[in-house]
């Protein structure tokens, strides 16, 4: 398709810039050699014809003179015989001799006459048979033989000296006989042969000329191209198609070469980009390209990869080196993206478009969410589209976690609010009548409001930690008081679930420095979780101890336990266990995460050991005196 369109639109270029002759010849698709051949052929033909004419002329002239001389000589030599016969007055003999002479010499006519006009002998019957020779006569003083030539006829006159009587005249005529084919056999043979050969050469040349025109044109094109130092120019060397198959083949060669050069230029550009060498020799674009964590692919207008970076190769699970020059459809696993990219690359679509694709290559491979953004990229060099590939897996996981958190947090907030509203209504309706009801309602309202406060506080703390504005106070912590609050807060809750909640305090509390509220919040989360995830009738043990300046709080339960693979994940923000047994238990998924971050900010840590169905032990360690230093930092 491409070739035919190129062939039809391109005409032979005006290569006559070098000289008028080459220009004219090339415009006709002929070579100078062909023109020179025609000229030489004409010259040879003219020479042959001229030489033939000249040979004919000179030969005829020479022959005329020779025959004229021969006739004169024959006439002169014959006169003595006639003179003797006439001296004897024997005219009949004279007549006979004359006739014999005429036949022998091939004469047209022969006449012997006297000066007075009397015909003595004649070959044409004009003789006067009654005539007698006079005894003596005068006249005719001619002494030598004369000869002349006119109108293809020789005429010779010779005196016949009759002894004692006078001079008679012998006049003979003879036609000029010239047979060129007889006399110029060799020359004519050479001439005819030459003419035949020349004619055949001309005919052959005529036949070959059409073919030679194309070859001559190609020759001229090559000569023209040799003037360019950079090699064959890309255009301007195409030949007219009517010059024949050679011209078509030549044009096809040019097309192929042009395509190869174009392809080589693309590959060179890609190689230069890959090698980090720019045309200006300045920036290291390829290195910058590869340093991008976004996958980048540049496609040409046929959907073939011109340039790609390392990240793109990783996302498509390909070797970077094998991508250049291949069609995107053979590299891309996602049909939707391929279709989109091809539409943009070929110009069917002109707008930027994005697609997110969940990619799971195999059972072993982790799920990956890739976002493909395809942009049109119109340029003169033929680049048509750019594909940007982004790994958004973690963002999507985070989105899911946030959504789950919002749903969970909403539920967490609503639960105490609902409880508070119900008890508030009961307090309004029955509080004045029954002091016990009033006390119970106020107690519940108090605990629920504190619960609500903790939830909101946790959320605020999370956002402060995220924002980097989280601050700790460096107060002295009244550990016994904190311990007391802990027992009071969970006593009722444990009782409700029939859980045996045991607190084992050390005999002597060390001095703790830190943010009391935050440390209490951390312990609160640990104990609250233990009660929450321990079935009714279970045991929860909270033990505090101090050793080598490290305060340790252990919260053990005999609850549902945690799967080994989730032991660290439970400290992850917004993480909720996949265990089906806790599906009905509400939780925001921020408690443990927040507790660990807070404790770590105090220089301590929270660790966990657990066995599924047997229970868990969370251990909170806190440096007794070092907390102050950490907080100051």
């Amino acid at each position: 398709m491409t070739k035919s369109s190129k062939t039809s639109r391109t005409q032979p270029a005006p290569l006559g810039a070098t000289s008028w002759l080459t220009g004219w010849a090339f415009a006709r698709g002929e070579s100078v050699v062909a023109i020179a051949g025609m000229f030489i052929t004409g010259m040879v033909a003219a020479t042959v014809v001229g030489a033939g004419a000249w040979t004919y002329y000179t030969h005829r002239t020479t022959l005329t003179e020779a025959q004229q001389d021969a006739l004169a000589q024959a006439a002169g030599s014959a006169t003595p015989g006639f003179a003797l016969a006439m001296a004897d007055d024997d005219l009949s003999t004279t007549q006979t001799l004359l006739e014999q002479f005429a036949r022998a010499q091939g004469l047209q006519s022969a006449t012997i006459s006297l000066p007075n006009g009397t015909v003595i002998a004649d070959t044409e019957g004009k003789r006067d048979t009654t005539a007698r020779l006079p005894e003596k006569w005068t006249g005719n003083d001619q002494t030598g033989v004369t000869a002349s030539y006119a109108s293809d006829m020789f005429t010779a006159r010779a005196p016949v000296a009759v002894a004692g009587r006078g001079n008679a005249i012998l006049q003979v005529t003879k036609p000029f006989t010239y047979e060129p084919f007889k006399h110029m056999r060799t020359q004519i043979g050479i001439g005819v042969t030459g003419a035949v050969v020349l004619s055949m050469g001309l005919v052959m040349y005529r036949k070959m000329r059409t073919r030679m025109r194309a070859l001559g044109a190609i020759q001229e094109a090559l000569r023209f191209a040799s003037e360019f130092e950079d090699g064959l120019p890309a255009s301007g060397l195409r030949l007219a198609e009517d010059l024949g198959p050679e011209a078509l083949a030549w044009n096809r060669l040019l097309d192929d070469r042009e395509q190869q050069r174009h392809r080589a230029a693309l590959e060179d550009a890609a190689a230069r980009l890959t090698a980090g060498v720019t045309a200006a020799g300045g920036g290291d674009y390829a290195a910058a390209f590869d340093a991008m964590w976004l996958g980048m692919i540049v496609l040409d207008d046929e959907g073939k990869v011109r340039v790609s970076n390392g990240a793109a190769a990783v996302f498509l699970k390909r070797n970077k080196g094998e991508m250049t020059g291949k069609e995107i459809s053979s590299l891309m696993r996602f049909d939707d993206v391929t279709t989109l990219a091809m539409n943009v690359a070929t110009g069917k679509a002109r707008q930027r478009a994005s697609l997110e694709v969940a990619d799971v290559l195999s059972a072993e491979a982790e799920k990956t969410v890739l976002r493909f953004t395809v942009r049109p990229m119109r340029k003169e060099d033929g680049s048509a589209a750019m594909i940007v590939i982004e790994d958004v897996t973690q963002q999507r996981v985070a989105d899911e976690s946030r959504n789950a958190f919002v749903a969970s947090a909403t539920h967490e907030l609503r639960t105490p609010l609902t409880t508070m509203r119900l008890y508030l209504e009961q307090l309004v309706d029955e509080g004045d009548k029954d002091p016990l009801v009033k006390a119970r309602c106020l107690n519940v309202l108090n605990s629920e409001s504190r619960r609500l406060e903790r939830i909101v506080s946790d959320m605020l703390s999370v956002s402060e930690i995220e924002a980097g504005t989280f601050k700790l106070r460096g107060d002295e912590v009244n550990a016994p008081e904190m311990w007391q609050h802990l027992q009071e807060d969970f006593k009722a809750q444990a009782t409700d679930k029939d859980i045996t909640l045991t607190f084992d305090a050390p005999p002597k509390w060390p001095l703790l420095r830190g943010d009391r509220d935050k440390i209490e919040m951390a312990l609160h989360n640990l104990v609250g979780n233990a009660i929450k995830y321990t079935p009714e009738g279970g045991n929860v043990m909270v033990r505090a101890s101090e050793e080598n300046g490290v305060m340790t709080f252990e919260v053990s339960d005999n609850g549902i336990g945690i799967k080994p693979e989730e032991l660290e994940l439970v400290f992850e923000k917004f993480y909720r266990s996949k265990d089906k047994r806790i599906a009905s238990i509400t939780g925001s998924g921020i408690g443990l995460s927040l507790a660990r971050q807070v404790v770590r900010l105090h220089g301590g840590d929270i660790t966990v050991k657990s066995q599924i169905d047997k229970g868990s032990t969370f251990t909170l360690t806190l440096p007794a005196m070092a907390a102050t230093t950490k907080m100051a930092a």
């Binding site: 991008m292 982790e366 790994d391 996981v397 693979e565 994940l569």
Partner: protein, 111 residues
């Protein structure tokens, strides 16, 4: 040497426990390569339990970093012990990695 793997969202945290030397380094190299292949580079090396690293261990870490950086990514490390950090600083390899205080911070950097 124990090598623990944990998923944090879409990020895999690989935690070698013990000195990263000779034979263990070879095992860790293979494990690290598997994780890089599976996770498309979404990984964090938790070095909090690596007390010491020799030349082979350093080579494993440097090679992994080079492999990731060829496609615009970087090897994230967290919990690097003081000893390990000094070794990385002295050998000039420290700049090849991104260092984070803890796993959560490192994982959050993928967002």
């Amino acid at each position: 040497m124990n090598i623990h793997e944990q998923r944090h969202g879409a990020v895999t945290v690989i935690k070698p426990e013990g000195p990263l030397t000779s034979g263990d380094a070879v095992i860790f190299r293979q494990r690290l390569g598997d994780v890089m292949q599976r996770s498309l580079g979404r990984l964090v090396v938790d070095a909090s339990a690596v007390a010491f690293v020799d030349s082979q261990g350093l080579e494993v870490l440097a090679d992994a970093s080079d492999q990731l950086s060829s496609s615009g990514r970087v090897l994230r490390m967290c919990g690097t012990t003081e000893t390990l950090r000094e070794v990385l600083d002295v050998t000039g390899l420290s700049e090849k990695f991104e260092h984070y205080a803890d796993v959560n911070t490192a994982v959050r950097s993928f967002l």
